[in-house]
C-alpha cells in the first residue's frame, strides 16, 4: 500500500530531517557566539572520523551507550520507564571487575564469566524495582531513581574498603578477563576500541531476537501495550514485569562490564554518576526503541561526544554546545509528528501537480 511505503521511507527521512534541524540550530548558536559553524562542524566531523584513532574512540564510546540504550528500550517495550540503568550499569561494572580480579581462569571461561557476572548484577538491580512494581504496585520510576544512588554508594564503599589499589581505583583485572584488543587498538592508532563493540552489536541482535522472534518477546510486548488483555490471554503480567526489568538490568549490567573490562580494566570510586545510563534514555528514545535505531543513535551520541573535544580544541567551540545540539536533535526527533506532517504536505502538493 501507498501508505505503508510512505511509512517506511518516512521512518528514515524523519530522523534525518530532525538531525539536520538540530545541526542547523547548533550552527545558529555558533554564529551568535561568534564562531564559524563550518569550522566548528569541520572540527566535529574530523573529531569523529578524521583519523582512525577518532573513529576508534567513537566506537569505543558507543559501546556502553548501546547497552544502556537497549536496557531502556527493553523496559520501555514492556511499558516500564527504567531510569535505573545508571545504577544497574554501575553494579555491573563493579561486579565484572571484581570477577576479573578475584578469579584465575583461562580466558574462554574467565571473560564470559566476568561479563555474565556484570549482567547478573545489573539484572539483580533491575529485579528489585520490577518485583516491587509487580508485588506492591510501587512506581518503578521512584525505585529506580533510588536504586541509582544506592548502587553508587555501595560500590564506592566496597571499592574503598576492600579493593582500593592506587588513587581511587581497584587494581587492573587479570588479562584473561579483559576485552582489550591490541589488534583493534593498533588498527585505530591506539584508541581504546575493544572487543566489547562487537559484543554490543551482538546484544542489539539479541534484543531484536528476543522481542520479535520469541514467545517471551511476544508476551513482553503484549504486556507493554495492554496489561488487561495480556492477563485475559493467560500471560502472567507480574512475572513479565519482573522479567522485563531484570533483562533490562542485565543489558545495563553488561554495558557496565564493557566499561570495566574493556575501556578501563578497573573500577573506580565514582565521584558522581557516569551519565552513561541517563544518556541511554535519550539513545533509546532517539532510536525509537528498536535495535537498529539504538545502534545508529548511539553512534550519533558517541560521535558527538568524541567530536566535541576536537570542536573545542580546534574551533574553540564550548563542549556544552554539543550537549545543546544533542538536546535539540532529540527535540526534533520527538516532534517528528510535525516533520511527518510537513513532509506529507510537501508530498501531496507534489502529487497534485
Amino acid at each position: 500500500m501507498m501508505n505503508a511505503l510512505k511509512g517506511k521511507a518516512f521512518a528514515i527521512i524523519v530522523p534525518l530531517v530532525a538531525i539536520l534541524f538540530g545541526f542547523l540550530a547548533g550552527a545558529l548558536i555558533m554564529l551568535l557566539s561568534g564562531t564559524n559553524p563550518i569550522t566548528g562542524y569541520g572540527a566535529l566531523i574530523s573529531g569523529i572520523v578524521g583519523t582512525p584513532y577518532d573513529f576508534g574512540e567513537t566506537l569505543q564510546r558507543m559501546t556502553p551507550l548501546i547497552f544502556s540504550g537497549l536496557a531502556v528500550a527493553f523496559a520501555f517495550r514492556t511499558g516500564l520507564l527504567n531510569i535505573g540503568v545508571e545504577g544497574q550499569l554501575i553494579v555491573g561494572w563493579f561486579t565484572s571487575v571484581y570477577v576479573g580480579l578475584a578469579i584465575e581462569a583461562p580466558m574462554v571461561i574467565h571473560l564470559p564469566l566476568a561479563i555474565v557476572a556484570g549482567a547478573v548484577a545489573g539484572a539483580l538491580w533491575g529485579f528489585v524495582p520490577g518485583l516491587l512494581k509487580a508485588r506492591f504496585q510501587v512506581h518503578e520510576v521512584i525505585v529506580t531513581i533510588m536504586m541509582n544512588y544506592i548502587a553508587m554508594h555501595v560500590t564506592n564503599s566496597l571499592i574503598r574498603t576492600y579493593l582500593l589499589d592506587s588513587g581511587q581505583r581497584t587494581s587492573f583485572i587479570n588479562p584473561t578477563a579483559s576485552l582489550e584488543s591490541p589488534f583493534l587498538s593498533e588498527l585505530t592508532q591506539f584508541s581504546r576500541l575493544h572487543w566489547g563493540f562487537f559484543v554490543a552489536a551482538a546484544a542489539c541482535v539479541l534484543m531484536w531476537f528476543i522481542l520479535w522472534k520469541t514467545r517471551k518477546g511476544f508476551e513482553l510486548r503484549s504486556v507493554g501495550y495492554n496489561k488487561n488483555a495480556s492477563l485475559y490471554a493467560g500471560m502472567s503480567v507480574n512475572s513479565n514485569i519482573i522479567l522485563s526489568m531484570s533483562v533490562s538490568g542485565a543489558f545495563a549490567g553488561a554495558g557496565g562490564a564493557m566499561v570495566g573490562l574493556g575501556t578501563y580494566q578497573y573500577a573506580n570510586i565514582l565521584p558522581s554518576f557516569t551519565n552513561i545510563g541517563f544518556d541511554g534514555i535519550a539513545v533509546a528514545l532517539l532510536g525509537g526503541s528498536t535495535s537498529v535505531g539504538i545502534f545508529l543513535s548511539s553512534f550519533l551520541f558517541g560521535g558527538l561526544q568524541q567530536g566535541a573535544n576536537m570542536m573545542q580544541s580546534q574551533a574553540g567551540v564550548a563542549p556544552e554546545l554539543v550537549e545543546i545540539i544533542i538536546a535539540l536533535i532529540i527535540f526534533f526527533v520527538a516532534s517528528s509528528y510535525v516533520i511527518r506532517w510537513a513532509l506529507g504536505r510537501l508530498q501531496s502538493r507534489k502529487e497534485e501537480k
Partner: protein, 509 residues
C-alpha cells in the same frame, strides 16, 4: 416550515477517508429526528461537526435560520446545542456535579461554590425527571446514571437542541424506557432532539422523522410514520435485512458447565455473585438476562479466571476450574468473548494477526522451544480473516485501525476457532450495526449446532430472547429463574429481572 438546524452539503474528510460527503440534515423545531446508518457511516462525525469538534471541509450550517460558523464546542453551547456523546465524556474521578459544571463553574470569591452547583443540578434533575446523586463520583454510579449526568450537562448549559449519539447502546431496558420518557419531557419543554441509534424499534417508537446515511453519503429523510423497520433497514444497508434469527430447536446434550454455589466479591469486597448455581449443556445457548450491575461481569470474570471466586465451584468437563488461572481456563476448553473489547479483548497496538493468536501463540506449531514462528502465525491469521470476513487491509494492520465491528469479528474468530467446548459470550454485539449483529448471532447458533455449550450474557433483552434457548435471569447475584426462551416475553423477563418486584428505576448500588 422553519428548521432549527440545517446542515447543508456537509463534507468532512479524514486522512484517506471521506467520512461525510455532501450530507444534508434538517431538523424541525420540537421534533425527535433520527439519524441512522451502519457502523462507520459517518453519523458521529456529522454530529461532531455540528457540535464544533470538527470543522467541515465544505457545506454550511444554519441554526434557527441563521448561518453560523461553529468553531468549537463553546460556540455550540452558545447556540444552544448540546451533545451526549457515544462514548461518555465524563471524568471518572469527579463527582456528578463537578462533571456538569465543568467549564462554567459558579463561584464565590474565586472558589467553586459546590453547594450552589449541587442545588442547581438537583433542580434541573427534578424538573426533567433525571434522577442523579449530585455528590456521587462517576466511577461509583451505574451506566444509566452516567447517561443522565451526560444529559444534565447539556441542560445545565441551557441547550435547546440536543444530540444523543447512541444513548441506548449500553442501557438496560428499564433505563431505555426512562430515557424515552425523558426525551418526551424534553420535547414537551420545547426542545429538539437528534437521536442516533442502531435500534430501529426505538426509532419507530419515539422519532418523528429519520435521516439515513450510508458510507458517508446521505440517502434521504423519511417520516417515521410511513416507514417500517424493514424499510428503514433496507434504506440503511442497501439490501434486505432479516431480523428474526433463524434457528432450529436446540438439541442439548451433556452438561458442559456446572456452577455450584459460586460466590464472588467485587473490588469493594461486596459479594456481588451470591451462591449462584447454573448448568449449561452442550448444544444449547443459555442466555443470562439481568439489569446491569447484578453480578454478570463478576460472574464471567470468575468463570474465566480473571477474578478470584470466594467460594463454590465451577465444573467444566468434570474438573473444578474455580481456582484456575486464565491460561489454564482457556486450555480447559473455554472460549471467552469479553465484554470490553478494548480492555480485554485486543492489544490495539498489535497487528490483527498477532491478536488473532493471542490465546494460542505459545502452543505448537506456533512456538517451538521458545521461538515464535511469525510466518506460521500470519498464515493462520489470514485463514481466520477470510473465514470470518474480518475487513482489514492485511493481517499486519494494527488492530487499532479497524472499526469496532471488525475488531469484534476478530475476537469471535479467535475464540470460536480454538474449538472450545464452552463459549462465554459477554455482550458480543454491543454497539454494532445490524449487519454485524446478524453475522455474530448466526455464528453463535452455528457453534451451538456443532454441539458446543454457550453462555450468552447480554443486557439486551431482544438479543437474549432471540438467540438463547434457555434464559437464566440474574438478580442481585443469584439466578432467580430459568425459563425457556420461546415460552417467555420481554414483559415477563423485565419483571423477573427486577427481582420479581415492581419495576424500580435504579438498581441498588
Amino acid at each position: 416550515m422553519d428548521y432549527v438546524i440545517e446542515m447543508n452539503n456537509i463534507r468532512k474528510e479524514f486522512p484517506g477517508i471521506v467520512a461525510n460527503d455532501n450530507i444534508t440534515l434538517q431538523v424541525k423545531q420540537g421534533e425527535i429526528h433520527a439519524l441512522l446508518g451502519e457502523n462507520g457511516a459517518g453519523k458521529s462525525t456529522l454530529m461532531n461537526v455540528l457540535f464544533g469538534l470538527y470543522q467541515p471541509e465544505r457545506g454550511e450550517i444554519k441554526v434557527r435560520g441563521e448561518k453560523v460558523d461553529i468553531t468549537d464546542p463553546n460556540k455550540a453551547n452558545d447556540l444552544g446545542i448540546g451533545m451526549v456523546h457515544q462514548h461518555f465524556m465524563l471524568v471518572q474521578n469527579f463527582s456528578v456535579t463537578e462533571n456538569i459544571i465543568l467549564g462554567s463553574e459558579p463561584t464565590t470569591r474565586g472558589r467553586i461554590d459546590l453547594g450552589k452547583a449541587e442545588k442547581h443540578v438537583q433542580e434541573i434533575s427534578d424538573r426533567y425527571g433525571l434522577k442523579v446523586d449530585p455528590k456521587a463520583k462517576i466511577e461509583d454510579i451505574s451506566v444509566g446514571m452516567q447517561q443522565r449526568a451526560e444529559i444534565l450537562k447539556t441542560l445545565y448549559r441551557g441547550a435547546e437542541i440536543l444530540i444523543f449519539d447512541e444513548p441506548t447502546a449500553s442501557l438496560t431496558p428499564q433505563e431505555i424506557k426512562e430515557l424515552i420518557q425523558i426525551m418526551n419531557n424534553l420535547i414537551d419543554e420545547g426542545k429538539s432532539i437528534i437521536l442516533i441509534t442502531h435500534k430501529l424499534k426505538e426509532i419507530m417508537q419515539v422519532c418523528d422523522r429519520c435521516t439515513v446515511i450510508r458510507r458517508g453519503v446521505g440517502v434521504g429523510t423519511v417520516d417515521v410514520e410511513g416507514a417500517t423497520e424493514d424499510s428503514l433497514a433496507e434504506m440503511m444497508v442497501g439490501r434486505e435485512v432479516s431480523f428474526k434469527v433463524d434457528k432450529k430447536p436446540a438439541q442439548p446434550g451433556e452438561t458442559v458447565l456446572s456452577i455450584k454455589d459460586l460466590t464472588v466479591e467485587d473490588i469493594r469486597k461486596v459479594d456481588v455473585v451470591n451462591k449462584l448455581s447454573l448448568d449449561v449443556r452442550a448444544g444449547e445457548i443459555m442466555g443470562v438476562a439481568g439489569v446491569d450491575g447484578n453480578g454478570q461481569t463478576e460472574l464471567v470474570e470468575a468463570l474465566t479466571g480473571l477474578r478470584h471466586s470466594k467460594s463454590g465451584s465451577v465444573f467444566v468437563g468434570g474438573k473444578d476450574i474455580s481456582h484456575y488461572k486464565p491460561r489454564k481456563v482457556t486450555e480447559t476448553g473455554i472460549g471467552h468473548i469479553p465484554q470490553d473489547r478494548h480492555k480485554h479483548g485486543l492489544v490495539l497496538d498489535f497487528t490483527i494477526g498477532e491478536n488473532l493468536l493471542l490465546q494460542t501463540y505459545y502452543q505448537k506449531p506456533f512456538t517451538k522451544t521458545g521461538i515464535l514462528n511469525y510466518n506460521l502465525m500470519y498464515e493462520k491469521a489470514e485463514e481466520l480473516i477470510k473465514e470470518y470476513d474480518v475487513r482489514t487491509p492485511s493481517s499486519k494492520t494494527m488492530a487499532r485501525s479497524l472499526s469496532g465491528g471488525n475488531q469484534q469479528k476478530a475476537i469471535i474468530a479467535r475464540e470460536i476457532d480454538r474449538s472450545p467446548e464452552l463459549l462465554l459470550a459477554a455482550q458480543p454485539t454491543r454497539g454494532l450495526d445490524v449487519g454485524a449483529i446478524e453475522f455474530i448471532h448466526s455464528k453463535l447458533i452455528e457453534e451451538r449446532d456443532k454441539g458446543r455449550g454457550i453462555l450468552l450474557v447480554s443486557l439486551e433483552l431482544e438479543e437474549v430472547l432471540n438467540v438463547s434457548d434457555r434464559i437464566a435471569v440474574i438478580y442481585e447475584g443469584e439466578i432467580v429463574e430459568i425459563v425457556d426462551a420461546d415460552k417467555t416475553n420481554e414483559q415477563e423477563l423485565g419483571l423477573l429481572m427486577a427481582g420479581g418486584k415492581k419495576e424500580e428505576g435504579e438498581p441498588t448500588s
